[in-house]
Amino acid sequence: MSLVIFIMFGCVAVGCALAMVFARNPVYGAIALIVCLAALAGEYLLLDAPLLAAFQILVYAGAIMVLYLFVIMLLNVRREEGCRWCTDWRTYLGFALAGLIGISFLFKASNVAHPAPPAGFHVYDVTGVAYTMFTDPTLLFVIEALGVLLLMSVVGAIYLGRRFSAEEESLLKRGEPEASKGKGAPDDVPCGEAAP
Amino acid sequence: MATINVQRPERLTLAERLYLPAILNGLRLTWRHIWGERVTLQYPEEERQFKRVYRGVHRLNKDDKGRVKCVACEMCAASCPAHCITIKATEVEWPERDKIPKIFEIDELKCIFCGYCVEACPEDAIHMTRHYHLIARSREDMIFGLDKLLAIYDETKEQEVLRGVDFGMTHARIPGKEAANPDEVQKLAYPVVGVVTKAETQRAQ
């Protein structure tokens, strides 16, 4: 029973992924991606990983894809023109790479030694996940580094995206940029008529 | 263009910037209103009670013999700014009158309810009642003829309505008519709309 549902979710995910690649209308592409991510969340759920599933929905479907849609809708991206099966070399390259990855998975996936989870560890157990995350020094470093990276990109995005007042403009010309808003209150959350 | 300078405080106080005290105040106010008095009139059951001088639908008065009081002088038609009164006269051999209207029509759709006809009438033959339910299914039905206007008189005979005397001018010249009381005229020069709630109506009854 659960295997059937698993395969169904898998088919939906793969189908939607393909639909996303081939959709002419970017919004349809985004919708397909959302469904694909949701189907993946379903897979996680069936694999006894509700925590991962919840985060999948929360982060990818709930936050990132909303921003994608925002950008697509706000920039009013047009439908792609041209033939459906473009004979562009990039398409073939993409397929070739995807096939390569698939084949390597087929070969490798069967004989990767999965480390056994620590005793009493459940994937849904936040305490367990947190314990692993914050006690393993290498993992901790990776996570912190990722956090700093994200923070840097946020600061950079705000610095690039903000509008400068005349005073700040002149300050910039004198070569003393005002410190950009550290945390970066995203005042300019994309919204239809925010920009004056 | 007129400019009004509004004095605004330089900075809001902390309490004002938190919004919260103001919000709580507002909530208290609406809470009181939820349990407060209802001012809506439940129309078909309750009706708005107007002052005596409200200018509603016209009526044509009858004299003490039950005949139409109008002498078809067409003063009202002449004074009507909307030209909504049509009068066709016919001759009669009555001791006090030569003419009465054969046709007297007021187009209530054209009428602006200014009351000039009431003011102009030398015979005090046209009044305005407090009726305001003007309903008809066609434009033709809204042209009120003699029969309708007289019928309204029969209906509202008992009512104190807007009379020529309320305008305080015409009737001084007519012998036998009551003279205007200037105080009353001043007070009632404009029909003041008053609301009488259901409870008050019941109390009055």
Binding site: V189 | W35, V39, T40
Partner: protein, 352 residues
């Protein structure tokens, strides 16, 4: 593995709650208009049926019988599914909420909860986060300027306030967390609120962390797009917001999901902060049946209070300006929520 008793209770509860929520939303619209009238010194709808209580039925019938206009210029597939997308999160969100005290039936413990998710809190957040799609797609598919503006406003607002809401929920999770207890499970969160301080103050999270409660309260209004944060439907500027181009049943399902959302958010609020089904003195009741019934009743009354609060606030406050809304969300609520989460963490660390 789920016991048979739990399965029966879950199924029955699912059916009952589903019907109750949709019907409740209809009744909610009626009371919205009624309270609107009362606050303004009017009577509110009082013609349809006895005292006007059948007004919501009349409205429903009207919506069902109206012509369903689909304009030529809409993006049809998306336009058609958008109201459904709006309904789904509204109707699945409450699945993880316990509506009454768990009881023992045939020796099995039964929770009055449709799904006993291990990650219940995350489930709530996840479902709440996809609620925005109905609005976004509806607005975009309408292919018309004002709905689009409304949709963009609504989604920007929902994303912004979701952060503060999540942080205030973190405070709750922290308050619940104890060694050996899965603090992400909602029934544990409610169970953690059942004690008393000094013997009489219930251990509701509302009293434990009023700041988080307040932040959640504000976010609740923003998430459901209600006044004072209903910029998505600002009639003066946007005609009708994201559902301008919708008519008949499609519009009705937008409306209905808005009201269902309000009820669910009230339920979440009660569950996380006001002790769920717990009420002072519940321990004194001997009979299990009465205890369970009273706990359901207490939950219902609390939910009704917050539903009323929605209406009360709606007819009290004017709408915020858009920049005020964003300032409040990012510059006021987010830091406050962060501070409250941090404060809670520190307090717990010091206590242990």
């Amino acid at each position: 593995m789920i016991s048979q008793e739990q399965l029966i209770v879950s199924l029955v509860l699912g059916l009952v709650l589903m019907l109750a929520m949709t019907a409740g939303a209809g009744v909610f619209t009626f009371f919205e208009r009624k309270i609107a009238g009362w606050t303004q010194g009017r009577y509110g709808p009082n013609r349809a049926g006895p005292k006007g209580y059948l007004q919501f039925l009349a409205d429903g019938i009207k919506f069902a019988l109206k012509e369903d206009v689909i304009q030529d210029y809409v993006v049809k597939p998306v336009y058609v599914i958008a109201p459904g997308l709006m309904m789904i999160p509204a109707l699945v969100l409450y699945a993880a909420l316990p509506i009454g005290k768990p009881f023992v039936w045939n020796g099995n413990e039964v929770h009055l909860q449709i799904v006993q998710a291990n990650v219940g809190v995350l489930y709530l957040l996840a479902v709440a986060s996809i609620a925005v799609y109905g609005i976004v797609f509806g607005a975009w598919a309408s292919n018309s300027r004002y709905p689009f503006f409304g949709g963009v406003r609504a989604s920007a607002q929902m994303i912004s306030y979701e952060l503060a809401m999540g942080l205030s929920i973190i405070s709750v999770v922290l308050l619940t967390s104890e060694p050996g207890i899965n603090a992400l499970s909602i029934s544990n969160i409610v169970a953690g609120q059942t004690g008393y301080w000094f013997g009489f103050i219930p251990r509701w999270n509302l009293f434990a962390n009023p700041v988080a409660f307040f932040v959640f309260l504000v976010c609740m209004f923003a998430e459901t797009n209600r006044l004072p944060f209903d910029l998505a439907e600002a009639e003066q500027e946007l005609v009708g917001g994201y559902h301008t181009e919708y008519s008949a049943m499609k519009f009705a399902s937008f409306m209905l999901s808005e009201y269902v959302n309000m009820i669910t958010m009230s339920m979440v609020m009660v569950t996380l902060f006001v002790g769920g089904w717990h009420f002072p003195g519940i321990e004194a009741i001997r009979s299990q049946a009465i205890q369970v019934l009273l706990s359901i009743g207490a939950f219902g009354i609390k939910v009704l209070f917050f539903c009323f609060l929605f209406l009360w606030v709606r007819w009290t406050l004017p709408r915020f300006r858009y920049d005020q809304l964003m300032h409040l969300g990012w510059k006021a609520l987010l830091p406050v929520a962060l501070a409250s989460a941090l404060g809670t963490a520190i307090a717990i660390a010091l206590r242990v």
